[in-house]
Symmetry: C2
């Protein structure tokens, strides 16, 4: 699986802009709007049972980094909660995971993809709560 990760094209922050690197081409992006006719966005928030446990976090990150190799995923982001004093901010979760698909059909295929099923089966013991929010353009 590790080798498959090498295929990932990185979106790297530069000095004041985001640099999109794909194959040998590079573009500097400012205000890039994800605007797909049938674009499907999948937001997932995980509350780990032991969010302070480094081994658990490492295991979760290992799992989610395999998960995002599912070919239907076109854009992905994995992050850790940022604390905030603002009332509207829920900073109680541990990890966020966002994936963009071309269509609802692709997201349906992802749901039953062996890599996704394996992620839930092998890493599902790590979290006590998950919330998913799905949306389309």
């Amino acid at each position: 699986m590790k080798n498959r990760r090498n295929f990932f094209k990185k979106l790297v922050a530069g000095a004041g802009f985001v640099s999109l690197s794909f194959m040998s081409k590079k573009v500097d992006a400012t205000n890039l709007k994800i605007d797909m006719e049938h674009g499907f966005i999948h937001h997932v928030f995980f509350w780990l049972k032991n969010p302070e446990n480094e081994a658990d976090c490492k295991r979760f990150e290992e799992g989610v980094n395999i998960l995002i190799t599912v070919p239907q995923i076109k854009i992905s982001h994995v992050g850790k909660a940022v604390e905030s004093p603002r009332d509207v901010v829920d900073d109680s979760f541990t990890y966020s995971y966002m994936a963009v698909f071309d269509s609802k059909a692709d997201q349906d295929d992802y749901q039953v993809h062996p890599t996704h099923l394996k992620f839930v089966e092998e890493y599902g013991d790590l979290w006590e709560k998950v919330i998913v929010y799905d949306a389309m353009n």
Copy 2:
């Protein structure tokens, strides 16, 4: 404000891949991972007071399309909830809005940007509930 929107670079879904269009350059993206050293992702979910009201939805979309012109936003996505029978999916919200910033500092600047303050002031009557989840790589 409308003119500023023309500056947006579109990320358009193609046949089985995502086509990134920025200026005159084009790249076809598959499994694009947003992987920024100091990347900050801001997920916001809005529950409108009248989610079935077309005029309210139109007004909200108008507002959020101005909001995403804030220059600190590097990547954004706006979507409407997709219904799901799955237990872990919360499909009760109306709109999702996702923005990626280069850093926490940029997100702090965005919070006090006049366009953001104006959005809350001018459109805040439309929603009854907001949840924000902030995360970093």
